[in-house]
């Protein structure tokens, strides 16, 4: 991260006293023992306590905080629940962390018009919790959904296992109330579809907290399907498993989820969760939804396709217990790998047709680097999650792991995919952006930030390679 601005650090007391004028006592955190709580997000390899942290309770308070920080030239790092795997909420020593955790109210639920309006500190799962009594749900389901906040979901355009059918956050976001860095409050979209004018809503979603702080969100809610059931299939060859996925999709069935696991992951999950997984090279879990009869029909078509690819195992769930068991292994994949060693989780996306080639190359690189890799993969949409195992206590291992990870992500881009499918760029992939984008491509994106945050104070050192954003960040310092 860039060096903190000494001028800002020197004015800490003055900034603090101004913030205390607009926020209640307990909403401003300045004691270094307490600001340490905010030193990192879920990318724990990087830590830095912020200068101050604030926990506003209203949009008005957020506006006051941003206005003051804007006037004082203090960088602001917005934070939902701090579950970013990419360092999206990593502080700098001269920043104010703006946490929205206290803003977690449901403001409006409307089943006839199928939306919910919430404050963005509310957790993803508790949005579904608020509409469950009417059998509705909020579709995007990142695996951190118990903890992660809607604010962070919007910032990172979070996905989940079921996005093949339901899309990601941007496809389920109808409107926002957002505070810009100068403290002005804007409202975009609402309960109606397709906000008029330029699609600012689409632009804000996934902008990693660099364009504004979203305090309220209108989200699309859906009626729960009557039921869902998975089928598990094992293959002796990655290529064949990939062909099977492609054939299922081509057949006209749209499963809600198609999950892929490779040998290392299958073994790790089996040892950890005893899900009854077969000993094979590639495992697929395919889930479909509907009434009992609809599920039966779709699963029969899927198993018919799978049989053409000579599976070593084909197990259609017959009960809720069996379904839970099939999912148990997959859902404990990260925990299972974590038990084996420290791991780094990647998030590149590839065209599904490149799967066999990419897995083969990852295997070769794993040998070269001497670090094992397990692969779990949202196969329907090409979103890979290679988990590289390393030993954080072994000098040089983290650096080796990061270099290996960067090679894998570059490979994802080279086969026609991208660096990140759902975790975001943050600081983790910031400096790889030049591999995917030309200077003109990056310039077009940075021009957007120029419009929303001309002083480059909101989460400034993220997303763009530091050398690419340097001129803008330096200009901001010089302007003070």
């Amino acid at each position: 991260m860039p060096a903190p601005n000494p001028d800002v650090l020197r004015r800490k007391a003055a900034v603090l006293s101004r913030l205390l004028q607009v926020l209640p006592e307990g909403a401003v955190i300045h004691d270094p023992a307490e600001t340490r709580v905010y030193e990192c997000d879920a990318l724990t390899a990087y830590r830095c306590p912020p200068m101050l942290a604030v926990l506003p309770s209203t949009t008005q308070e957020v506006s006051e905080v941003l206005r003051i920080c804007h006037e004082e030239g203090v960088p602001v790092v917005p934070r939902g629940s701090g579950t970013s795997l990419a360092g999206g909420a990593l502080p700098t020593a001269d920043c104010v962390i703006l946490g929205v955790a206290r803003m977690n109210e449901v403001l409006e639920t409307d089943y006839d018009n199928r939306f919910i309006r919430v404050q963005t500190g509310r957790t993803n799962l508790s949005v579904t919790g608020a509409v469950e009594e009417e059998d509705f749900f909020y579709a995007p389901d990142p695996s951190s959904q118990l903890a992660c906040a809607i604010a962070g979901n919007i910032a990172m355009n979070s996905g989940g296992a079921h996005c093949l059918k339901y899309g990601v956050t941007t496809n389920n976001l109808l409107g926002v109330k957002m505070v810009l860095m100068d403290g002005s409050v804007v409202e975009i979209g609402g309960a109606h579809l397709d906000a008029g004018g330029l699609d600012l809503l689409g632009l804000i979603c996934g902008s990693e907290g660099q364009l504004g702080v979203v305090t309220e969100a209108t989200l699309r809610i859906l009626r729960k399907p009557e039921g869902a059931r998975p089928v598990l299939m094992g293959f002796d060859d990655n290529e064949v498993a990939g062909e099977c996925v492609s054939d299922i999709i081509k057949s006209g069935i749209l499963p809600v989820a198609i999950e892929f696991m490779d040998t290392l992951c299958i073994k790790a999950c089996e040892n950890f969760a005893h899900a009854g997984y077969p000993d094979c090279t590639a495992l697929l879990i395919v889930e479909v939804e509907g009434s009992e009869a609809e599920i039966d029909y779709q699963l029969s078509k899927i198993t018919e396709i799978a049989k053409r690819h000579n599976p070593v195992e084909l197990r259609e769930s017959q009960s809720a217990e069996e379904s839970a068991k099939i999912w148990l292994g997959r859902k404990s994949a990260f925990g299972a790998m974590g038990q084996m060693n420290d791991y780094m989780c990647l998030d590149g996306t590839i065209p599904v047709s490149s799967l066999p080639e990419v897995l083969r190359r990852i295997g070769e690189m794993s040998e070269e680097y001497g670090l094992p890799v397990g692969n779990v993969f949202h196969a329907g949409d090409g979103n890979m999650h290679p988990l590289i195992l390393f030993d954080a206590n072994k000098p040089g291992d983290l650096e080796k792991c990061e270099a290996f990870g960067a090679e894998i992500l570059k490979l994802c881009v080279d086969v026609g995919g991208c660096l990140t499918g759902e975790h975001g760029v943050g600081i983790e992939k910031r400096d790889l952006m030049s591999h995917q984008y030309t200077p003109q491509d990056l310039e077009a994106q940075m021009a957007v930030k120029d419009v929303f945050d001309p002083s480059w104070l909101l989460n400034p050192a993220k997303v763009f390679p530091l050398d690419a954003s340097e001129a803008r960040r330096v200009a901001q310092l010089a302007a003070q």
Binding site: D110, G197, T349, G382, Q436
Partner: protein
């Protein structure tokens, strides 16, 4: 001016000395400067992977070509783009670039999403003549800002699209349509809400006040469609007489293209609202004819030439677009709903950076 490659287009834009109108097939009623850049020279499907549900095409590729290629693999553009020719009396061949630039979505938008939700990647030439790409050809991509969404529905004011990457979906094996006969709009909205909040995946919900019929579409595998139609009949039995329509495909194509308005004079407006607000909005419109799609969330209104529909509505949650009107009306009212000051500052700022010389479709979006 009709460049045949992206490089040729970029060079042409860099050398432009005057504002231009951007046109694909010229079917969407965009007015503007005399000088025109046509993208219909940039054609061809460059990649189509049915097993990955992705298709990449040059911006000037006719929609018909894309639909034919998809049809051959049993797939489709799920957002069901409207054909504007009948409503606007335009000729020419609708292009995929035009569909994306105007973010045109049909009846299935209420369930499957809008055009922008199916757009995975773009390449475009900005106002300085630079080629920019954003997004890609994979379904999950959060690498950097999402300029893909920004370009969809920007009506050519931020750049000239050259290549698009789209998510496609399987074409349903079977389609059925229920007709619920209702007395008035409020009841129609209740029927559509009840259907859309059921678990039976209704993929179209529309109402034509002229014949008092609510149309509800169900798509999928044959047995599943039969089952869901049956369940919907039970759920909706209290609302009025229910019959089943024949010729579903034609019914929904007519709705998609607003066929009841074809050949009728006057201005045509498109108003996006919260569905349950529709009856109140309709009462304030003073329109000659209306048609309701998206469960009531989309109101098509035909009004005497020059009617200020936005003036009639006053303050409301949503937006009203003038789709067809005499040139004087377009000049005085504008196609698009005026934006609040803070939003206008943002959109003007974006336009200023993407097209600093203000040469692409100037004034079209305000």
């Amino acid at each position: 001016m009709k460049p045949e490659t992206e490089a040729e287009l970029a060079e042409l834009v860099a050398g432009l000395q005057q504002p231009v109108r951007i046109a694909g097939g010229g079917t969407r009623g965009v007015t503007g400067p005399e000088a025109m850049i046509e993208t219909s020279g940039l054609t061809g499907i460059t990649l189509y992977e049915p097993g990955a549900l992705t298709l990449v095409a040059q911006a000037g590729t006719p929609v018909a070509d894309i639909e034919a290629a998809l049809e051959a693999e049993g797939q489709q553009l799920a957002f069901e783009p409207m054909d504007h020719r009948g409503l606007l009396g335009t000729n020419g061949e609708p292009t995929v670039g035009g569909v994306v630039a105007t973010n045109i979505s049909g009846p299935r938008r209420v369930q499957a999403g809008a055009c922008r939700d199916f757009l995975l990647g773009v390449r475009y030439v900005d106002g300085m003549g630079q080629v920019v790409k954003n997004g890609g050809r994979v379904m999950k991509n959060v690498t950097g800002y999402d300029l893909v969404k920004l370009m969809a529905g920007s009506w050519g004011t931020l750049g000239v699209l050259t290549e698009l990457s789209l998510k496609v979906l399987p074409k349903p094996e079977s389609t059925a349509t229920l007709i619920v006969h209702v007395a008035e709009l409020t009841q129609a909205i209740q029927v559509m809400s009840a259907a859309l909040k059921s678990p039976y995946e209704v993929s179209g919900a529309a109402f034509d006040p002229q014949d008092g019929r609510v149309l509800l579409r169900v798509e999928g595998f044959s047995d599943s469609v039969a089952y869901r139609i049956d369940r919907l009949k039970t759920v909706l039995s209290g609302f009025g007489e229910i019959t089943e329509a024949s010729g579903s495909a034609e019914l929904w194509r007519a709705l998609r293209d607003v066929r009841p308005f074809h050949g009728q004079d006057g201005d045509v407006w498109r108003i996006s609202v919260k569905p349950t607000d529709a009856p109140d909005i309709e009462a304030r419109l003073n329109a000659d004819q209306t048609l309701f799609d998206w469960g009531g969330g989309l109101i098509w209104a035909r009004a005497p030439s020059g009617t200020d529909i936005r003036g009639n509505l006053g303050r409301f949650d949503g937006h009203a677009t003038l789709v067809r009107g005499a040139i004087e009306t377009v000049v005085s009212l504008g196609h698009f709903q005026p934006e609040p000051t803070e939003i206008k500052a943002l959109t003007q700022g974006l336009r200023q950076r993407f097209d600093p010389r203000g040469i692409f479709n100037p004034g079209l979006m305000g």
